[in-house]
């Protein structure tokens, strides 16, 4: 649910980006004077929190209603890569950052290495960490320190139009080979229709595929970053998708744009390779298609596996004097029944909590009638357990992903291939790390 690219279209977010750029100087002042970390009913600690995930407002309201010592002010910002991260970095630089911010796993190392966050190890204890999915905890532990409270795990999932799959007599593909065959069948049945979409604007979807296949682009060994994007797994995934694109077996549309949703609406796209949070997005974007969708595990390369696509954590900014209260609130959102319930009951979120014990809560709070009553949380549960634990994100996700995205936009005749795009991302990453003075091999 993280990265919740909600109903707001890409275009609206583009405005937000530009607005964020122009409003650079007018960031809301936050934090401010009330020093003590431990509040009381008379003098509650007031926290400021920036995020964009669906249902966050409901969570904050529920927290404020049930807590006297801490009161949270929530401000909704554009989603991370759509301008939210820029807003956070600028606020940190300007010294008026909120206490708590939402950061996806992929971007956490970059915020840590730019010095924007503080170590929360002393507040976020071993006991609390034990409640959460180990793979998620691993992604928030960098250089031996704990930097954020994981909120959700985002295992991959394949959403498809049950009715149209039946109409075209297509079996739900279990492996990527079957997926390709199914894609061919769909195209043959109706030359306008495709099984899914390749998102040229969103390298993270591709990276999740690579992650699923077993690749490990970033490895921190001793004091050195080892970057490897030419391993057999990455090569295989890149070649596979290049094949689908060359044979015109998938659409190529930007994610969450009117273009993409339009093709879902008129049934020319009948599947969506996404993640757990996508269940809520589809439900919110295409309410009229209720009952027509179903969820399947991501196709795999031989044995079930999953990458993670998105996934949010909560981190405390470096100048915040209210670390204890901020971590308490973050833990409440991530690890308490009330917190998870409030978010999912909002109806827009299908977050898959990183807190293992709370999944039944999430399941019972999510109205799955959109998926014909399918037990989608059981499916996420299995996918979540199969997330490859080897993947780590590098400290320059901004550079890596922007470069790959730029190349993805030019895929096609005369342009680069997917493999070229990955190589460009690799080179830009190595150059960036070298420039910052980090040790890097690759």
């Amino acid at each position: 649910m993280s990265r919740t690219r909600n109903r707001r279209s890409r275009t609206t977010r583009a405005i937000a980006v530009t607005a964020a750029a122009t409003a650079l100087a007018v960031l809301t002042a936050c934090g401010g004077g009330d020093g003590a970390a431990e509040g009381s009913a008379d003098q509650p600690v007031t926290l400021t929190f920036w995020g964009w995930a669906k249902g966050t407002k409901d969570v904050v309201d529920a927290f404020n209603a049930s807590h006297e010592n801490i009161q949270v002010t929530f401000e909704e910002i554009p989603s991370g890569t759509a301008g939210g991260y820029a807003k956070i970095s600028n606020a940190v630089k300007a010294g008026n950052a909120p206490d708590l911010v939402s950061i996806e796993y992929a971007s956490l190392p970059e915020f840590v290495s730019s010095g924007a966050l503080q170590d929360i190890g002393d507040e976020f204890t071993e006991l609390d960490r034990g409640k959460l999915l180990p793979q998620a905890v691993e992604l928030t532990t960098l250089g031996g320190k704990s930097w954020a409270v994981p909120f959700d795990a985002a295992p991959q999932a394949f959403y498809y139009r049950k009715d149209l799959f039946a109409k075209y007599r297509i079996d739900v593909p279990k492996t990527w080979d079957e997926f390709k065959t199914a894609a061919e069948k769909v195209k043959k049945a109706d030359p306008e229709v495709r099984i899914a979409t390749f998102f040229p604007d969103d390298p993270t979807t591709f990276e999740a595929m690579v992650w699923q296949a077993g690749a490990q682009w970033f490895k921190a060994e001793d004091d050195t970053w080892k970057i490897d994007t030419t391993d057999p797994d990455t090569t295989r995934v890149a070649a596979y998708w290049q094949g689908l694109l060359d044979a015109d077996l998938v659409h190529k549309d930007a994610s969450f744009t009117p273009e993409w949703t339009g093709s879902l609406k008129n049934g020319t796209t009948i599947g969506y390779l996404g993640a757990s949070w996508g269940a809520g997005v589809l439900k919110g974007t295409l309410p009229e298609q209720s009952g027509k969708w179903a969820v399947a595990p991501m196709p795999h390369w031989g044995s079930p596996a999953s990458g993670m696509l998105g996934g949010t954590s909560f981190a405390v900014t470096k100048d915040s004097k209210k670390k204890a209260a901020a971590v308490e609130f973050a833990e409440w959102m991530s690890t308490t029944e009330a917190g998870v319930k409030a978010r999912i009951a909002s109806g827009t979120s299908s977050a898959f909590p990183a807190a293992t014990a709370l999944r039944p809560v999430a399941k019972s709070s999510f109205d799955a009638s959109y998926y014909g009553g399918q037990d989608i949380y059981a499916l996420f549960e299995e996918a979540g357990a199969s997330i490859n634990g080897t993947w780590a994100w590098g400290p320059s996700t901004g550079t890596t992903n922007t470069t790959i995205k730029d190349q993805f936009g030019r895929l096609g005749k005369g342009g680069p291939s997917i493999a070229d795009a990955v190589k460009a991302g690799h080179d830009a990453t190595v150059a960036e790390l070298t420039r910052r003075g980090l040790k890097v091999e690759g």
């Binding site: 890409r10 980006v17 820029a86 936009g409």
Partner: protein
């Protein structure tokens, strides 16, 4: 200090205050930022420290192919955009100014209207019109057998030029039209009496008379073109188009600051872009300035054809009648 100086100082103070606050200080800060960089060590999880790096950011920007290519894109943009803009705006203004035109006010307003739409909105509208599955335009083109992918690597530049033309054509047309309105009608009558046809009047009399406006519009457009940002950014963020995040130098600076967190590099890129703009405007004003001077001297030599300034002419005529 006498009263006059005091008054002058009081009246000038707000300007200089604002000028300092919103121009001098930010520019100075950008230059200052451009001399520093953030360095980390090991894996980078120990945070960053800001160190003085001299001109490193400048060499990094200039050494980055993406940044240099941005200037290439600008060059292409200027070549494809400025000539049609000037020709189109001038052509429309001459048409409106000609005796043939009907419903002048309506066309003036209708042509100017696109400019009233903010650039972001204009770009969003056009993105919609460019998007294959949504656009009636693309559908009509495909039905007519003309397939064109506005988001492809070769289609991106024309797409942006088109948006800019749509936005600015009417605006510049109004400037030219206003200049044409100021042309002394008796000059035109005299030309007609001497046997000049409509074309001759338009190109040998009207256009030379509004040369100053043309130069001004050209200069402003050139400087504006260097700042190219909003439209390509919308195409970059809102679609899967071939417009990259470093497509123009301005976007390069934006991406460096907000996607890559490299404020030093962003500042250096901005300073380099500003210098280019300053040099270019200097060169353009110098070149055209010399041209104008030449015309003036020629005019002085032959007072009968002195037409560079309609107003002078009119006053002189008034004197005569007086």
């Amino acid at each position: 200090m006498n009263a006059r100086t005091r008054a002058a100082a009081t009246l000038l103070a707000p300007f200089f205050l604002l000028f300092t606050a919103v121009m001098v200080v930010p520019i100075g800060y950008a230059v200052w930022l451009s001399l520093f960089t953030e360095k980390q060590s090991g894996l980078g999880f120990g945070g960053a420290e800001t160190v003085f790096s001299g001109l490193d950011n400048y060499t990094a920007a200039l050494g980055d192919r993406a940044f240099r290519e941005g200037f290439g894109v600008l060059l292409g943009y200027c070549l494809f955009y400025i000539p049609p803009l000037l020709a189109g705006a001038l052509g429309l203004a001459l048409l409106l100014d000609s005796a043939l035109a009907r419903a002048r006010r309506f066309f003036q307003l209708a042509l100017f209207l696109p400019h009233a739409v903010p650039g972001i909105i204009a770009a969003l509208i056009w993105v919609y019109l460019y998007t294959p599955q949504l656009s009636p335009v693309v559908r009509a083109m495909e039905a007519g057998g003309v397939g064109f992918d506005f988001f492809s690597p070769s289609g991106a530049l024309p797409s942006i030029v088109n948006i800019a033309l749509w936005e600015w054509l009417g605006y510049n047309m109004v400037i030219f039209y206003a200049a044409l309105q100021a042309v002394d009608r008796s000059v035109l009558e005299a030309a007609t009496v001497d046997g000049a046809g409509a074309w001759r009047v338009a190109f040998s009399i009207k256009v030379p008379l509004i040369r100053a406006s043309i130069v001004m519009v050209g200069l402003f457009t050139l400087i504006g073109s260097l700042q190219l940002f909003t439209e390509p950014l919308i195409l970059e963020k809102g679609t899967g188009s071939a417009v990259t995040s470093t497509w123009t130098p301005n976007m390069y600076a934006y991406t460096a600051a907000f996607d890559r967190n490299d404020y030093g590099l962003a500042a250096a890129a901005s300073v380099l872009l500003a210098l280019t703009a300053a040099l270019l405007s200097f060169a353009v004003t110098r070149l055209t300035g010399r041209g104008t001077r030449r015309t003036r001297t020629a005019a002085r030599r032959a007072p009968a054809t002195r037409t560079a300034d309609g107003r002078t002419r009119r006053t002189r005529r008034k004197e005569k009648t007086a």
